[in-house]
Symmetry: C2
Subunit: 509 residues, 2 copies
Amino acid sequence: MTYADFQAHIAELNDLLNAISILKWDARTMMPSGGAETRGQQLATLSRLAQEHFISDKTARLLDAAEREVAADEPDSYRLRAVQQTRQYYSISRRLPLDLVSDKAALEPVSEGVWAESKRDNDFKRFAPYLQQQLDLAKRQAEAVGYQEHPFDALVFEYEPSVTAAKLKLIFGDLKAGLLPLLQKIVANDRPLERDLWRHEYPLDKQKAFGLEMAQRFGYDLKRGRLDIAPHPFEISFTRQDVRITTRYDLHYFPQALYGTLHETGHALYEQGVDPALTRTALTIDFLGKYPVGGTSYGAHESQSRLWENQIGRSREFWVNHYDRLRHYFPEQVTEVDPEFLYRAVNRVRPSLIRVEADEVTYNLHIMLRVEIEMGLLEGSLQVKDLPEIWNAKMKEYLGVVPKTDSEGVLQDIHWSGGGFGSFPGYTIGNIMSAQFLNAARRDVSGLNDGLERGDYAPLLGWLQQNIYRHGRAFSASELLQRCTGSDLHVAPYLAYLEQKFSDLYRLS
Amino acid sequence: MTYADFQAHIAELNDLLNAISILKWDARTMMPSGGAETRGQQLATLSRLAQEHFISDKTARLLDAAEREVAADEPDSYRLRAVQQTRQYYSISRRLPLDLVSDKAALEPVSEGVWAESKRDNDFKRFAPYLQQQLDLAKRQAEAVGYQEHPFDALVFEYEPSVTAAKLKLIFGDLKAGLLPLLQKIVANDRPLERDLWRHEYPLDKQKAFGLEMAQRFGYDLKRGRLDIAPHPFEISFTRQDVRITTRYDLHYFPQALYGTLHETGHALYEQGVDPALTRTALTIDFLGKYPVGGTSYGAHESQSRLWENQIGRSREFWVNHYDRLRHYFPEQVTEVDPEFLYRAVNRVRPSLIRVEADEVTYNLHIMLRVEIEMGLLEGSLQVKDLPEIWNAKMKEYLGVVPKTDSEGVLQDIHWSGGGFGSFPGYTIGNIMSAQFLNAARRDVSGLNDGLERGDYAPLLGWLQQNIYRHGRAFSASELLQRCTGSDLHVAPYLAYLEQKFSDLYRLS
């Protein structure tokens, strides 16, 4: 047995996981509602087969052989990394009971379907038993994986291996200390913009065309991608050759679909940028989440979606450069405003109800709220049935606003319906990382700022591709930060970015 | 081990085959072109896993146990049938080499992709090597399965177990003897319809809405289905809970999309009508084709698509009943014609180039031509490189027309690109069966003709559901015919139907 045999075995696992991802994509975008139950059975069977394939004794034998073959490789060698990571997750996965894996897979599409209907009908009670089942599965998983301090540590490990509940509390503390004073100053200075740009209708096909044009300008390759509609936008990749995004549309408020598209485009650029040599290897597998992905962690992935959505898409230069294209698609609607108006409009800071529509300053407060609830549910200090009340109380405390319906409150996000406890911190970690990466790119590439001024994104994309995307999951988020910036995760660059952008926008002293 | 264990094992096989079908549906309707190669790898892996699962020693042990348990069942018992069929195809499948199965699966999406591009670019030479590969695989398969007289017998067995090359020649002979005189009389009497209904534009979304409305009137359940676009329309089912159809659109000639939709709706009604108790059993698997399907053979399936498309959808009553709905969708386009004009327009008989657009009288000549070519390729008397020339010569001989391009000729159908040698006879067998079934339904259900007169399809659907659909693959096509009509396949009812319809339409003496 050789490394090549090991790789062929892992390639098969990739294929199985890719099939699972397509079943999930289809369930979220295309599948008729009647198909949910049998889709759950299909996912359960394939997930169990994938799990059996991975935790088989054959994997152990192939790992032994591969380890011998790569032992003398350089520490950064992809082969060595592939073997090391497979070994690490093989050990963890052997501790996960098979029935837990298939129960999770079977529950996911059913639970997501119920969530979508419950959100539509503002009916939390209908969703509650499914959420309880997901929570019970998460607890079983935490016990099986093991943890030192907090069950949350075992779950967040799947998404962000380098943080724990304790570390998160420190990071959140640093962030709050910078964000809250800024937010207070902004709210005190806020004056609504007066033009009623959003009273017009923006036909959805034109919105889609404009969003896709911008996505392609950023570098999204439609020969290896497509854009569909989903109630909760997401990106999903079936190898770097087929990386799909989704968004949702508001007939009047076109930034919803646009920034949904640009956010998912950031994810997609990461996936499309993975080195072709890593296709179907261990370095494009999330072994715990059991899906094929090129990005190294949730936070690293989110750093790219947030970077392209916010730091590029919500920049003054973006609207200066692309204002004419917006008018091309909407000549009758976009008449009485200028690029500066658009820049200000898409950056208005205002405590609000919906996380995915939150501005950059309040966004992380939405995350902290969710993470606290997850920790409470896992500890047992909070109960599923009380969540609407708890949610609303925390919204009042953190943001000073209270949702009128659960659809705008506790039911707004898909994550819990899919069992994704531990995934939310990645959003805030991504925000923090995005500023660190962009600073490093500006430092390294002399023409980068000039490019952004002109709407030429190739220099930025080139740096990201070279330093981050191509490596797939070969390096951890922490290693990527060290390699690119010389330091680990820290909040100062992100806070500085927000201070500068919003002090200018709100003319703060 | 019990029958329940056997059933659980077959349920897993169903899940795997369903996943494969979704990968194929996606490849034909949604997948970006860049994804073809990795999709091929995914299909190869899953097909190999499905094949290994089926031909495993475990299947043999479970079969032994199940056979003992169902031995005393009634001959028509679903359990007994499930076990018998699994045994039959288990024996055949053990003779198929694993690498043949995965080679076929890997080639299919690549070959289909090249076919689509070759057809678009009218470039047969580009497609030829892929067709040759498919032919070589088909020959290997015929040798592995085994046959008595002709390699074609081993291939057609997959689609229509009860016919052989020799039997087909007899049936085709009977059919020709009836069709050719009728066609000659019609051509002599043909006068083109004068109104230029097809100069108008029919927006595609309206065409889709009208087609779906008609499909739903026939009984297609959109909670368990959806309609998409594909260059070569098809129906595909992932269990009876999720049965999808596709069609293609011509902006000017709305019957193309409409009758494509109604044809696939016929297939879909069959699949949606399978007894829920058969979900994930051996009676919803095509073990040789390796896909999940409720219909018992290609011909039985096609009998339903042709029945709903032609005998219902192209009836005078259809247009009398639904003319107002057509005008509802196209008030500006459908102005100077009446239902009788539409009835005549969609039934015009004219020797033409494209099989899927051929009228009911010439259609079977297109099939005979293809079947002869397949037999010749398998015998070695014809060569792939010569196919455009051979095709055109046969078109001239059979139909008196010659395609100007290969796109309208030898490249028009998807079947060979997917390796479907032996599948074409099913279309003609389906035509023949459809008349036998409809006669039986009229005989059994007193209100059926009244229903059709009023556009009420429930009595017909009810009979088909009760006598055909619900049984899935429990009975062969031959058994279904015997049970419903008391006789086996014979061409007289179909010829009588054509004689009557077209003698009236063309006022033949």
